[in-house]
Amino acid sequence: MKFFKKRPYLQFISPGIALYSIFVIVPVLFAIFLSFHEWSGIGSMKFVGLDNYAKLLTDPRTSEIFLNALGNNLKYTLCVVTIILGVQLVFAYLLNINIRGAKYFRLMIFLPYVISTAIIGFFTLIVFDPNLGILNNILGLVGRADLKSAWFGDPKIAFVLLVMVILWQSVGAGMMIFYANMKDVPKSMIEASVIDGAGEWKRFTNIVIPMLGPSFTTNIMLGVIWGLTIFDIPFLIGGPQGGINNSIDFVNQFFYRSTFGSAYFGETSLGFGACISVTMFVIIFSISLMLSKLLKRFKFND
C-alpha cells in the first residue's frame, strides 16, 4: 500500500490499466501462448511447439499462400500510400482553392465513405457480375461487347479493380484530413506568393505541401496500418478464398479461413490462426516503428 501511497498517480491510472490489460494485453499474451498449441476451439489444447510457425513459413503449400497474401498486402499498402494519398491530396487542394461546385463535390466524394462496407460488397456484385451486372449489360448495349469481361473473375485485373473500388470509397476521409490541414496555411503566405508571381503548381508544391506535415503523418500512418490489416471489402468481394487464383487474398482473409474454416468446411484451427496473428503483429509493429522514425526524420512530426 505504501508503494501506491507514495505514487498517487498510480491510483489514478489503475482503472485504465486494468481495463487495457484485460481487453488488450491479456488477449495478446494468450494469442502468443496459443500459437504454440493446436486447438480446434472445443476440447483440449495440444502443445506442438514451433510446428505452427514451421508450417506457416516452410511448408510449400501454406507458405506460398501466406507469402502471396502478404505480397498482396504490401502491394496494396504501396497503392494506398502513393495513389490513394495522391488523389486525396489533389482533391483536397481543389476544394481548398474553391473551384466551382466545391461544396457539391465535397458531399459527393465523401458520401461513399459513409456507406457500410457490406453494402459496397453487394454493390460490386450488382455492377460487376458478368451475367447480371450493369457494366457488362451497358457494354453490350453500346456495342462494345468485346470489352465484356469477368471483372473480378479475371485474375489479371481483379486486384486493380479492388484498389479502384476502395479508392472510390475511401477518398473522402483522407481528403477531409488534408483539407482541414490546408485551412491552417496562412492566407498571407499564399497572397505573398501570388504577388511574387508563383503559378498554381508552384504554390501547391512549394508552399502548401510542406505545411501539411501533420496530416501527411496521420494519413500515412493510418494508410499503412489499414493496408496491412484490410479485410472487409476483399472478403465481401472475393470470399474467404480471396478471389480467383488468390488474386485478392490478404493476410486477414488467410487468417480467417485458417482459423474458422472456409465456407462449408468448418475445420477450425485456432492455434495456427494465433500463429499467423503473432507473425503479423511482429511485422506490423516493426513497420510502424520504422515508419514513425522515418517520418520524424523528415520533420513531418511537428
Binding site: 447480371l132 473473375g153 478464398q241
Partner: protein, 435 residues
C-alpha cells in the same frame, strides 16, 4: 454556460450507461453472437399467455435459408402434437454457420438442436468425441432408414444425429421456353448435349450457367459431367479400386476448361458466384444450369413464371447416371436443458411423418420409399438408369488418416478452371492425401 454544459455532459453519460446496461441485459436472452444475417422467428401461432415453469423451450439452429420453410412446417406440426413444448428456430448463413456454432458451443450456450453435415465434415466427429452431442442411438427409431442414409450419422456404431430423408442429387435444369424456341428436346446422349449447347450459344443465350468463382457450384457441375463421361471410373472409385489422379478424371477437367473457353458457361463465368449462377437461370438468361436437387424451389421462388424442368446428364450411349448423397439432419446438444423434449423433437424429425413434411416443403427428392414427392420437376429429374457416388464423398471416404483432400479441393478447384493449375497437378495433390 459552464453549468449547462456540465449538466448536458452528465445527461449524456447517464444515457450511454443506460444503453450499455440495456445491451448487456438483452444479450443474455438473445442467442446469436453475430448481429448480421440472423433471422429469429417464433413458430408459435398463439402467443402463450403465461409459460408455466415446466414448459420446455427448444432452440433449433439451421444453416441456410433454403431450409427455413421445411423446418418451420415440421415445427408447426410438432407443436400441434406437443402443445407443452415451445420450439423456436434460428437461420444462419451457410458460410458463418460453423464459426457461430463453435463459438456458442464453447460459451456453453449451444442450441438444443442444430443441423450438421454429419460425417461429411470433420467437426461432427470431433464434437461427438468431445461429448458435445447427445448419443441418440437408443433414443430415436432409426429402423426405417437405409444403410446409405445412416452412414452420415454413424460414428463407431453410435448415432448422434437424425438422418436426412432427402436423397440429394444434382441435375441439369433447363428452360423449357428456350428449348421450345430453339426446337430442342431433352438430350438423350452426351454428344447431343454438347451439340445443344453450341446451338444455344449461337442463339445468344448462355448455354450452361456456372458460378466459377464458388467452389461448390463448380463441384456440383463437375460431378454429373464426371458421371456422364466416366461412369466406370466412378463406380470403381466408389469401391476403392481406382485412384483420383487417373487420366480419365483429368479428361473431365479438360472438357470443362474447353467448354469454358468456348463460352458455354457464359462470358466471364469465373466472376460469377452461386447466387449469380442461380439468378442467371431464374431470369432466363441461361438456358441450362447444373446444380443440386435442393434448388428446385429456389428457381420458382426467384421467378414464379419460369417454365423449367430437369434431367440427368446422359452418357455417350444414353445411360443416365444419378448421383445420390444423403442429407443430414439435426444433432442434439448434450447439454440441453430439456433432454426429453429435445429427444421427442428429434424423434419427430426422424419419423416418416416428419420427413414427409420436410421433403414436401423443400420439394426435395425423397430418400425413403415411404415418402413420396408430388413435384413434377422432381419426378422428371429422378428418372435414371444407374445410381452413382459423388466425387466429393469418395474423397471423404478414402482420405488418409491425417489428409484433408476436401480442403485442398475447396481451395484449388477453381484454379484449375482459371488455368492456374493443370488438372494433373491438382489431381496429384488430391491423390497424395488419399489412402
Amino acid at each position: 454556460m459552464k453549468k449547462s454544459f456540465k449538466f448536458i455532459a452528465m445527461l449524456l453519460v447517464l444515457v450511454s450507461v443506460a444503453f450499455l446496461a440495456l445491451g448487456c441485459a438483452s444479450s443474455a436472452t438473445t442467442d446469436s453472437p453475430s448481429a448480421e444475417d440472423t433471422n429469429t422467428q417464433t413458430a408459435a401461432d398463439t402467443p402463450s399467455p403465461q409459460p408455466s415453469a415446466e414448459k420446455a423451450k427448444l432452440l433449433v439452429w439451421e444453416h441456410t435459408p433454403q431450409f427455413e420453410e421445411p423446418l418451420k412446417q415440421v415445427i408447426e406440426a410438432f407443436k400441434t402434437q406437443n402443445p407443452d413444448i415451445d420450439v423456436e428456430y434460428e437461420i444462419k448463413t451457410a458460410d458463418q454457420y460453423y464459426n457461430l456454432l463453435a463459438t456458442t458451443i464453447q460459451a456453453g450456450e449451444a442450441p438444443d438442436l442444430f443441423w450438421t453435415n454429419g460425417t461429411a465434415t470433420s467437426n461432427y466427429g470431433s464434437y461427438a468425441s468431445q461429448g458435445v452431442l447427445m448419443d441418440l442411438t437408443d433414443k430415436v427409431d432409426y429402423s426405417i432408414y437405409p444403410e446409405a442414409a445412416m452412414k452420415l450419422v454413424d460414428i463407431d456404431g453410435h448415432y448422434y444425429s437424425t438422418p436426412g430423408a432427402t436423397a440429394d442429387t444434382r441435375a441439369v435444369y433447363y428452360n423449357k421456353d428456350i428449348f421450345d424456341e430453339l426446337g430442342l428436346s431433352v438430350p438423350k446422349t452426351f454428344d447431343e448435349f454438347e451439340a445443344d449447347m453450341q446451338t444455344i450459344l449461337d442463339a445468344g443465350y448462355v448455354p450452361l450457367a456456372l458460378g466459377g468463382s464458388f467452389f461448390w457450384s463448380t463441384l456440383f457441375t463437375f460431378e454429373p459431367i464426371l458421371a456422364a463421361m466416366e461412369p466406370d471410373w466412378l463406380q470403381a472409385a466408389a469401391k476403392g479400386e481406382a485412384r483420383v489422379n487417373d487420366p480419365h478424371v483429368a479428361a473431365v477437367w479438360e472438357k470443362m476448361i474447353e467448354w469454358g473457353n468456348k463460352g458455354y458457361f457464359g462470358v466471364g463465368y469465373l466472376g460469377v458466384d452461386e447466387g449469380g449462377q442461380l439468378l442467371a437461370f431464374s431470369k432466363g438468361e441461361a438456358a441450362m444450369t447444373i446444380t443440386g436437387s435442393w434448388n428446385v424451389s429456389t428457381f420458382s421462388s426467384n421467378n414464379p413464371d419460369l417454365n423449367y424442368g430437369a434431367f440427368q446428364l446422359p452418357t455417350k450411349d444414353g445411360t443416365r447416371p444419378m448421383i445420390v448423397t444423403y442429407a443430414c439432419g439435426f444433432a442434439v446438444s448434450a447439454n440441453t436443458e430439456y433432454p426429453e423434449a429435445a429427444v421427442k423433437f428429434a424423434q419427430f424429425l426422424a419419423s416418416v411423418e416428419g420427413q414427409s413434411i420436410w421433403v414436401k416443403a423443400l420439394n426435395g427428392v425423397p430418400g425413403l420409399s415411404e415418402v413420396v414427392s408430388e413435384d413434377p420437376v422432381i419426378a422428371e429429374m429422378t428418372q435414371h438408369d444407374i445410381q452413382v457416388e459423388s466425387f466429393y464423398s469418395i474423397l471423404g471416404d478414402y482420405a488418409s488418416e491425417d489428409g484433408n483432400p476436401g480442403q485442398i479441393m475447396e481451395e484449388d478447384a477453381t484454379k484449375v478452371l482459371s488455368g492456374n493449375l493443370t488438372p494433373e497437378e491438382f489431381l496429384n495433390s488430391l491423390d497424395a492425401l488419399m489412402q
